[in-house]
Amino acid sequence: MRRTSTALRLTGLTLALVLTSLLARDTSAQVYPGLQTKFDFTRSLINGRGTTKLADLEGKLVWVEFWGTY
């Protein structure tokens, strides 16, 4: 009984690790030069004066700087 339980736990752990690794390698939302972007913010931007989406900034170059790993 104890062996079965340990085996189940190990299988679960392995599955979780595989899943985490697959998710970490998900590059679907990553941008690359040439990609057309579009995004709506759900909260007002600080100092945004009405900006709710990237399209509101059209007409200028937009430098999006990330202080976190995305």
Partner: protein
């Protein structure tokens, strides 16, 4: 957020008309804490146009911070990478874009390109009028020039409409001082463009109306306190002084902004 922020702020200031910097904060701080941090760093004191958010619009896939993506005016990704590594590359792209904007797009007929450049030099009314003349009946412009002029009219008209929409947001949300500056620029820039004169005049009338008198006084009081907050930091402006504005002008836009700033001051 560290040393590369002032570098981005410097470029934001330098390229006001052609660049918008948006910082995305990824740590576990709240939006109010992030705002307080930026205030205490003095980043608002310089009157920056940069914006901050905690929502990532996309991923850069970089494991080093700060990472970035530079988008063209239509939202297409031009560059991406690590800011500190690519700073020169970003600066060059900005310089090139600003220069091209001053000269007008190379891929357009000369007559059209010249007017696009005039538009971005602060003369949108004059530029749109000249472009309309190119497409008018009886115009001697070639069909190619006429087609290019029409495309330019559509794009530039959308830009003016965006400015007016932004102005409406400022008026609706109590940012009257900024609205006044922007209205003044629009009034000068659209002088002679009859189709826009009414739209600008309507907004001027609204701003000067008796209806907004009390709201504008409230904003004036708030801006005085906000100036102190931005120059001295969150520790030097009390929640009590911000509350006093909210109490003196209940239900006003300035009261709502003062209350939002209380959360920022208290989040520090």
């Amino acid at each position: 957020m560290g040393t590369s922020v002032p570098a981005a702020l410097k470029l934001q200031d330098e390229y006001q008309d052609s660049l918008q910097v948006v910082f995305i904060e990824g740590s576990r701080v709240t939006s109010d804490q992030m705002h307080a941090f930026a205030i205490d760093k003095g980043w608002f004191d310089v009157g920056t146009a940069a914006m901050w958010s905690k929502e990532a619009p996309f991923k850069t896939g970089e494991s080093v911070i700060p990472s970035y993506a530079l988008l063209d005016p239509t939202g297409k990704v031009l560059l991406k990478g690590v800011t500190t590594r690519d700073h020169k590359k970003i600066e060059e792209a900005l310089e090139e874009f600003a220069k091209a904007r001053k000269k007008g797009p190379k891929d357009l007929p000369k007559a059209v390109s010249k007017q696009v450049a005039e538009f971005y030099k602060g003369k949108p009314g004059k530029a749109l009028k000249a472009l309309s003349a190119l497409t008018a009946e009886g115009s001697r412009a070639s069909s190619e020039d006429q087609a290019a002029a029409q495309t330019a009219i559509d794009t530039l008209t959308a830009a003016v409409e965006r400015d007016l929409k932004r102005l409406d947001w400022l008026l609706d949300n109590g940012f009257y001082a900024v609205a006044e500056d922007e209205l003044s620029d629009l009034r000068k820039g659209l002088k002679g463009a009859d189709e826009w004169t009414t739209a600008v005049a309507e907004r001027s009338t609204r701003l000067e109306s008796d209806e907004l008198k009390s709201e504008r006084s409230a904003e004036k009081a708030l801006l005085k306190l906000q100036k102190k907050l931005y120059s001295k930091g969150t520790g030097k402006v009390s929640a009590k002084s911000l509350s006093a504005i909210a109490e003196k002008y209940p239900g006003s836009q300035a009261a709502a902004r003062a209350e939002a700033l209380i959360a920022v001051v208290e989040a520090d």
